[in-house]
Symmetry: C2
Subunit: 200 residues, 2 copies
């Protein structure tokens, strides 16, 4: 922002620009927008920021974000505690919950193993997953990390770690997305769809 | 956000979604990002919001956003107070300042006349502009509103209002953008470029 602009506005724009996906231009636009908000709205925004950050923490069981000790899913008696779906981020849980089909519980790794970025297995919530399995009662662990290099590597690593413990480890199916067309499918997806073909 | 997510997170996402250009999906992503920020960073963000909104106000002369009574441009003795460039928003001033060519002062309307949206001439900072001109010493008013229907209408309206006061009123030139090509110029721009052609 040009140096003829009020300093607090520049500082606010810099704060917005720190957020992912917001460049300096958008950040300036947002800062100017805040100028036009009412006192109440600005306070509500600032309070929501601090309150969310202060009160939300990780579920002691599955590491999902929650306000209490246990997240709503882990404290729900109707969920099948014998099946754990392992995901990278809390956002992924929301995606599964939207299907309304999955009745098991989750485990959030809060990252993927990526030695090149310095993320070794001890940097993600892996020991918490091991502790849950060692407590017993877990029959199946579904690896639901993204189909990226890091996602695949993490799934393989965890699978090798868990199999000796006598748990069934599965991986999400990969293939053509429903509603997609062959024409627009990339080679790897098509190869996976062919490889994992089913009897009909 | 699915109802299995902690409430403060949902509330924070709703706050982000109120900002222009941020949809519910991006807002959720930003809310999750805030969870991963340090305590200090979150506080700095919240403080920047409140401080910017509390301390920044309109320059008593040109209505630009500023911390003091007068903005840095109006309080700069080297700027030519006889030339006023009339713009819609404070952002537009930043654009002109980047050219490093304009040495006059500005006037921010904080809006454009748009009767269909209920924005009548008394809703924008027009009387403040008139007051500046009636104080005397102004030789030229450059209408630098955007080349939109409202921008053109506002420029015309103000020009008719100011001419009887003996001030020279000018409008920004419209034509081909530098670096642009004829092939991609729209019809109206090309027509303007033809109409306003100059002797070389």
């Amino acid at each position: 922002m040009a140096n003829n602009t009020a300093l607090p506005l520049v500082l606010l724009a810099e704060q917005f620009a720190k957020l992912p996906g917001i460049g300096m231009k958008s950040a300036q636009r947002l800062a100017y927008y805040v100028m036009g908000m009412t006192d109440e709205d600005v306070r509500a925004f600032a309070d929501a920021l601090i309150r969310a950050h202060e009160t939300v923490r990780c579920c002691s069981e599955c590491q999902n974000l929650t306000e209490g000790e246990l997240c709503p899913i882990c404290s729900d008696d109707l969920r099948d505690k014998g099946t754990i779906c392992v995901v990278e981020t809390p956002k992924d849980i929301a995606a599964f919950e939207r299907t309304n089909e999955y009745k098991g519980v989750y485990h959030v790794l809060h990252g993927l193993i990526s030695p090149l970025d310095g993320i070794t297995p001890d940097k993600i919530r892996l020991k918490e997953l091991l502790a849950r399995i060692q407590k017993g009662g877990v029959e199946e662990v579904i690896m639901a990390t993204n189909p990226t290099v890091e996602g695949e590597a993490t799934a393989m690593y965890i699978s090798k770690l868990l199999k000796p413990l006598g748990v069934r480890v599965t991986r999400l199916a990969f293939g053509l997305p429903i509603g997609g067309t062959l024409e627009y499918a990339d080679e790897v997806t098509l190869f996976k769809a062919l490889e994992n073909r089913n009897e009909i």
